[in-house]
């Protein structure tokens, strides 16, 4: 029988030794970022003692860097901090709009992108957006840091590649160069604060003549994990991202989707709508890139 405990390590090393000590003692340890999922789950579906290890005091996880080649978003950075950063919004508008879609002002004040990823819900809004913009997870591990592309991070509903002695330090995102931009759209029956019926993230690069030279498309809430849609990206590359290319990308997303029927939508509906979202997000990303 364990008990509840709380630790607030200040460095990666201290956090790793805390996780290792808890594991050695047979205690359950759970990383805590914004707590907006953890606290709700602790009172409902996931009761029971554990040691909370607060990532927000780990210096490396509390960092936000916008470098010439890379953006680093620490796992403890609240969504509201990202939304208020105009530079970040201009270089990664799709990722930031995905983060901004999640919850109320109050939730935004605590919730983190890292927490959204580690919660590993099939409907997590930032996950397709992270995948589209090529984000890589920086994971603290007893053997040294390791990096995992976001598309390989989530392994199932609520599960991911993290071992009990590891934690997510943050996300490394290649800084978009030239005429590159991204967009994320989700569908919900209301206008705000709901769980995605489905979602689509698109990141692309255009050359000087407006021809797409690189693209990545990811769709969410239409399978147990967010999916990469290589055929949708291939449909965009080499085109001016015109209506025909977007229609082909939409078909590719619909074809790859493996949704379920639940109270939010049927298989047929989700498959249709995820294509529409792919098309619309692609057009937004194109227009953003053209405006650069």
């Amino acid at each position: 029988m364990g008990a509840y405990a709380y630790r607030a390590p200040s460095s990666v090393e201290e956090a790793l030794s805390t996780l290792a000590a808890e594991a050695a003692a047979g205690n359950r340890a759970q990383m805590l970022a914004g707590g907006t999922d953890v606290m709700v789950q602790m009172r409902s579906i996931d009761k029971g003692p554990r040691t909370f290890v607060d990532v927000k005091h780990v210096a490396e996880a509390n960092a936000l860097h916008i470098g010439d080649d890379e953006v680093f978003i620490g796992a403890g950075i609240a969504s509201a901090v990202l939304n208020e950063n105009d530079e970040l919004k201009s270089i990664l508008p799709g990722l930031i709009e995905a983060a901004d879609l999640i919850g109320s002002t109050q939730i935004q004040g605590r919730a983190t992108i890292g927490g959204n990823l580690c919660n590993s819900s099939p409907a997590g809004d930032t996950i397709p957006a992270l995948i589209a913009c090529g984000a890589v997870c920086e994971i603290a591990s007893p053997g040294g840091n390791r990096e995992v592309p976001t598309e390989d991070f989530v392994t199932g509903v609520g599960t991911n590649v993290l071992e009990p002695t590891e934690f997510l330090i943050g996300l490394k995102i290649p800084r978009p160069k030239g005429r590159s931009s991204d967009a994320y759209l989700r569908f919900i029956p209301r206008t705000e604060m709901d769980i995605a019926v489905c979602g689509a993230g698109v990141a692309l690069t255009l050359d000087d003549s407006g021809v797409c030279t690189a693209a990545k498309v990811s769709i969410g809430a239409v399978a147990i994990t967010a999916l990469v849609v290589p055929d949708a990206a291939a449909a965009l590359v080499g085109t001016t991202v015109d209506d025909d290319a977007l229609a082909a990308a939409a078909d590719a997303s619909s074809a790859l989707a493996k949704p379920i029927t639940d109270k939010r939508g049927t298989v047929e509906y989700r498959r249709k709508v995820v294509g529409v979202l792919t098309k619309r997000a692609g057009a937004i990303a194109r227009d953003r890139a053209l405006a650069l």
Partner: protein
């Protein structure tokens, strides 16, 4: 189960308390510190009745552990009024009859204060968007929105 010692600042006062590691800040405020102005509605972060500010940022105190308050500045509804009377936002809520049963009101007031601290001259859309995490089943929201816009105007004119 051992209680943890926490040093924090609440409404400008230095405060120390002991709490269970898994106790929410909301429960600490109400049950350990007697600050019962902050209300529990849903305890799942949906209703905003438990809204407080942490270092000036609006959060749900039901979704935060009491131990996470170590070293931060907490502002609750008890800290909104000044020594010389109600805050202008509170006065405008009264003037516009922006409350009925009152359970949501402390959360709305703290959220409204956070809004005007953040954006002293909000549009109606910005007020509605900012307050979308606070639920009220009595007023229909319109009076609340009018009260906040009126308070913003008064703050703006006196600034």
């Amino acid at each position: 189960m051992s209680k943890q010692h926490v040093s924090t600042t609440i409404n400008g006062d230095e405060v120390e308390f002991l709490c269970e590691p898994h106790q929410s800040l909301l429960d600490v405020l109400r049950d350990e510190l007697g600050l019962t102005g902050t209300k529990e509605g849903c305890a799942t972060g949906d209703c905003g009745a438990c809204s407080v500010m942490i270092d000036g940022r609006l959060v749900c105190s039901c979704l935060m552990l009491g131990v996470e308050a170590q070293g931060v500045e907490v502002t609750t509804i008890e800290g909104i009024a000044g020594a010389d009377g109600l805050h202008v936002i509170q006065e405008k809520y009264l003037e516009h009859a922006a409350l009925q049963c009152g359970i949501c009101t402390p959360g709305f007031l703290v959220a409204s204060k956070a809004l005007l601290d953040h954006n002293p001259n909000p549009s109606e859309h910005e007020v509605r968007h900012w307050l979308a995490g606070n639920l009220c089943r009595c007023t229909g929201y319109d009076k609340i929105v009018r009260a906040v816009l009126d308070a913003a105007e008064e703050v703006h004119q006196s600034a």
